[in-house]
């Protein structure tokens, strides 16, 4: 009987990856990574917080109606009450409604800027790393140059030169953020270049473009995803800083950073409801994305260890 002739029991049930070969995105390897990720309680908490804020920002206003368009100086600076759950701000807007609106801008801009920055960075880095030689040198010196200028200075300068709308703001943040993924991907691409399967593609007559898109990029996908999560966290902080310093989108649009900037004038008056909720919102979203990023990085290590 076949069942009794089990001479070679598999010693582990881990999905095998071909020795010295590519990390093929077979279902089982990603499933293991997902399993590690979900075991990490902080990551699950992070995801929960992000989902909460998405619902809070977009579904919230449908339930809790407030006037976010016209100011009403009669009711300015009121504390929390039944009518206005978190009080009103310096020009009479309902604060809780403002937080929801602010959540929309922060999340929209944060996510969009991260996606754009990662896309540019990945392309730049893969091309530089794969091409090597002089092209790589030149491309990386460009990265070094832009990196030498502190991001906030460059951000403020660009935002002053080209008064941004939401779209332009996303582009400006992406311009400052694409550097890190570019560096990361270039490093990985450089090391992948020497692998046999990449050289095989060349031998078989595959074009450079084919190699970059079908072989290099999928193999740095894990690193890219981890970095993209951190990009979102950083972008949210940047949007907040820009709004705080006065360069966000003008009212009646709202942003958590801008709300804190308004509240600062009244810091001695003790209007705590104008300060703490907005600040806590920023910290909570950023911490959530950082948790997710950290957990994703740990899950990625597990996947790499199986090679």
């Amino acid at each position: 009987m076949i069942e009794s002739v089990r001479l070679h029991e598999p010693t582990s049930f881990e999905p095998g990856t071909p020795a010295g070969g590519e990390a093929v995105s077979s279902g089982s390897t990603w499933q293991t990574a997902l399993a590690v990720f979900t075991e990490n309680k902080l990551a699950v908490l992070g995801v929960g917080v992000v989902v909460f804020f998405i619902l809070f920002s977009w579904v919230g206003p449908l339930i809790y109606h407030t006037n976010q368009v016209s100011t009403n100086l009669v009711i300015e600076n009121q504390g929390p009450s039944a009518r206005h759950v978190l009080g009103t701000d310096t020009v009479g807007y309902d604060l809780l409604g403002r937080l929801m609106l602010g959540g929309q801008t922060s999340l929209e801009i944060g996510l969009a800027a991260a996606v754009l920055a990662t896309s540019i960075g990945v392309l730049w880095g893969s091309v530089a790393g794969f091409a090597g030689g002089l092209i790589d040198d030149v491309m990386m010196r460009v990265v070094d140059t832009v990196m030498a200028i502190p991001p906030l200075f460059l951000l403020l300068l660009l935002a002053t030169m080209f008064r941004p709308s939401v779209g332009l703001l996303i582009i400006v943040i992406a311009i400052v953020s694409w550097l890190e993924p570019a560096r990361l991907v270039r490093g990985e691409a450089l090391s992948l270049r020497t692998r046999e399967y990449v050289q095989a593609v060349k031998v078989m007559g595959g074009s450079g473009r084919r190699t970059v898109f079908r072989h290099i990029i999928p193999n740095v996908a894990g690193t890219i995803m981890v970095n993209a999560t951190f990009q979102v966290a950083d972008a949210i902080l940047m949007v907040a800083a820009l709004s705080y310093l006065g360069l966000g989108i003008p009212p009646p649009a709202a942003n958590w950073g801008g709300m804190l900037s308004n509240a600062q004038d009244y810091i001695f008056a003790g209007y705590w409801w104008q300060i703490w909720p907005a600040g806590v919102c920023i910290v909570a979203t950023v911490v959530a994305f950082n948790f997710i990023g950290d957990a994703a990085r740990d899950a990625l290590e597990v996947r790499l260890r199986q090679r």
Binding site: A148, I149, L154, L237, Q264
Partner: protein
């Protein structure tokens, strides 16, 4: 060592050249060009033309670039009509104060973060590590201005210990130490969060090295292994990491200066931004870029001095 130095300095020179090119390009990307930047948004066409002719802006761009670089090397970074001073003199007044702020904060942060990182790494997976790393994480994720506001609320309002604004620019800094405390503390806390993260991973990477195992096996006391082998070796990459953090620290300084009205380079930049004083903004970006490049160069040289392996790669 010399080959490494030459290569590294060469790289720095290229980046400085790149920064100057970037600033020059941005200057010309301004709607209306440099003329508009200097005269103001209400410049009329004939005014712009006259300005262009006078300042040689009708010549081909590469020629202009060289002329501009020559001016910069002579110390001429433009003139701020809004403040009625040369950009250079404005920077001369404000950069030292920012360096006082950022320098103090960075040194203090290192003094705290290095032992903190070591402690966290040694005590990993224990409660103390979780708590400390968690708090560090929280500070790292907090927007700097919010942290500053919290410090003001606690230490200026609830407990009236320190003033909530920065020092008076007309008086020397060292006479106004209490005005420096909160700005330095704010910048310091976020920097500690960043550095202790680096330090913790560096120590964790070092602790598993073979030579540490050997030292333990030889019977070297635990504390000595820690200090003589682990910390000494973990500190080496920290030099480069501090160099890499300079842009981040300077951005943080900008926010702190805006929050506390601290009269430094960041505050100057922010005020210039509010009135669209482009000569000041562009001049500051150039100088800041050069400072960062010099800082990273020094950090990398220090790294090469501390770690002989780097010099031969």
């Amino acid at each position: 060592m010399t080959a490494y130095l030459i290569r590294r300095v060469g790289q720095a020179i290229i980046v400085v050249f790149g920064v100057s090119l970037l600033v020059f390009v941005l200057l010309h990307l301004l709607p209306g060009g440099p003329a508009r930047a200097v005269i103001g948004p209400r410049a009329t066409k004939p005014q712009i033309l006259a300005f262009d002719r006078e300042y040689g802006l009708l010549k081909p761009l590469p020629v202009q670039y060289i002329a501009w670089v020559v001016q910069v090397l002579h110390g001429n970074l433009g003139f701020s009509y809004k403040q009625n001073q040369t950009v250079t003199s404005l920077l001369e007044q404000n950069v030292p104060r920012t360096m006082a702020l950022a320098g103090t904060a960075t040194v203090l942060a290192l003094v705290v973060a290095v032992p903190l990182g070591v402690y966290e790494a040694v005590r990993r997976n224990h409660v103390d590590d979780y708590v400390l790393t968690g708090v560090s994480f929280l500070f790292y994720s907090m927007p700097t201005f919010f942290l500053g506001m919290i410090l003001i609320i606690v230490f200026s309002i609830t407990l009236p210990l320190f003033p909530p604004t920065g020092p008076n620019p007309a008086l020397p800094l060292w006479g106004q130490v209490s005005n420096m405390v909160l700005p330095v503390a704010t910048l310091c806390l976020v920097t500690i969060a960043l550095f202790s993260r680096y330090m913790r991973s560096a120590v964790m990477d070092t602790i598993i090295q073979d030579y540490v195992r050997t030292a333990h096996a030889k019977g070297v006391p635990n504390l000595q292994v820690l200090v003589k082998h682990v910390v000494r070796n973990a500190l080496v990459p920290i030099a480069t990491l501090v160099g890499l953090s300079l842009p981040w620290i300077l951005s943080g300084a900008l926010i702190v200066e805006a929050l506390f009205n601290y009269p430094g380079m960041g505050y100057l930049f922010w005020q210039a931004m509010e009135v669209e004083d482009f000569p000041v903004m562009l001049g500051t970006v150039l100088i800041v870029g050069v400072m960062v490049v010099l800082g990273s160069l020094l950090a990398d040289i220090l790294y090469a001095v501390l770690d002989p392996r780097v010099r031969y790669s």
